[in-house]
């Protein structure tokens, strides 16, 4: 089962149908794609950029690109749409991170509190314990580690899709993800060195 099925989302056949119809100008099919993916792109961008406005702009930009490439034939569906879509999104986020890092001051703790406050307005209550601490820990990760978290959890991609997107072997992606989780766990428990103790993961999955 593909991972996006776990979120109760459309299967590959449905997405392929939407893509085909949207490419020929079908507005309903396009809306289906927007409903399917816009929030996942937004969440990925918002978690990285900590700006709802930037996240929404990036989401618009990604869909504008998809629309153009669908209609002019630059994209041909081969069952890899999600990998491509989130590669476009990841590149936009990277560009924005680079752009904003040249202008903005580094994020302080109060920013994470504001993020948490905004998120709480929308949450249903489950799983919120320690989320602010988790966000702070993620912000201390390296760029590639943060990307791994965002692609896996916010974008909701499978490890296979992430491997496809990053053009890395599946074993490497699995090892990186697990190493990142252990690093996060170490940060939250105050034993960050635990992240260093399992460098053999890559060999395990290779």
């Amino acid at each position: 089962m593909k991972r996006h099925d776990d979120h109760g989302q459309a299967d590959d056949a449905k997405v392929a149908q939407w893509l085909s119809l949207a490419a020929s100008g079908d507005q309903q099919a396009w809306r289906g794609l927007v409903d399917q993916y816009a929030r996942r792109i937004f969440a990925m961008a918002w978690s990285r950029l900590r700006s709802a406005e930037s996240a929404e702009e990036i989401t618009q930009s990604v869909f504008a690109t998809v629309a153009v490439k669908l209609c002019n034939g630059a994209y041909t569906e081969q069952g890899r749409f999600e990998s491509w879509l989130f590669r476009v999104a990841m590149n936009r986020v990277r560009d924005e991170v680079r752009r904003s890092s040249r202008q903005a001051a580094p994020a302080g703790p109060e920013l994470f509190e504001r993020m948490e406050g905004r998120a709480r307005e929308n949450e249903s209550g489950a799983g919120s314990t320690g989320t602010a601490e988790l966000r702070r820990a993620i912000a201390r990760l390296g760029d590639s580690e943060q990307e791994m978290i965002h692609l896996r959890h916010h974008a909701g991609l499978s490890f296979k899709q992430i491997a496809d997107l990053l053009e890395e072997p599946l074993g490497t992606v699995l090892a990186r993800h697990h190493r990142t989780l252990r690093k996060l766990k170490g940060m939250l428990e105050g034993t960050e060195e635990s992240a260093e103790t399992d460098a053999s993961d890559e060999g395990r999955y290779a």
Binding site: A22, S47, E56, T65, D95, H153
Partner: protein, 159 residues
């Protein structure tokens, strides 16, 4: 939720926390989010992607068109008001009665009418101006992004 068989036991708890956090973030969009995204991008689908020129926004509208139309309308209104006021002053000035000046009677009404028109113009145009500006700025940004090459990226977006 992640497929837990892919996740080692010792990090399954934090994996679940990350999933919960991601779910919260997906719900953090403002109301009408999908409507806005769809509205601002559907024009490219409708036009078969042909609206990708640098100066074109969604639905083929252009920022310059919008600004030009409004500027022309504003100047036309101002010119009409000036002509109207000038004609009124001439008419009052040519009347023989020494008691009539632009400061009293019908002259005051004319000035009040001009003020009312001015206020009406502000009320009808300005509240929407900011939204129009935002919409067209976003459209222009999307147009720029679509047309740019994103050379700085590490990964090709072409499959």
């Amino acid at each position: 939720m992640s497929r837990q068989e892919d996740i080692p036991n010792d990090v399954q708890a934090i994996d679940r926390s990350l999933e919960a956090m991601a779910q919260i973030d997906r719900e953090a969009v403002s109301p009408g989010f999908e409507d806005r995204i769809s509205l601002l991008t559907a024009g490219r689908i409708a036009h078969g992607g042909a609206a990708g020129t640098r100066d074109a926004g969604p639905f083929g509208l252009r920022m310059n068109d919008h600004r030009t139309v409004r500027r022309r309308a504003s100047w036309s209104m101002a010119a009409a008001l000036a002509l109207f006021a000038g004609a009124g002053m001439l008419w009052f000035g040519s009347r023989p009665s020494p008691s009539l000046t632009p400061d009293d009677g019908a002259g005051m009404q004319l000035v009040a009418l001009a003020d009312d028109l001015d206020r009406w113009l502000e009320m009808t145009i300005d509240p929407y101006q900011q939204e129009f500006d935002l919409l067209f700025a976003q459209a222009a940004m999307i147009g720029d992004n679509v047309d740019s090459d994103w050379i700085g990226n590490d990964f090709s977006e072409d499959l």
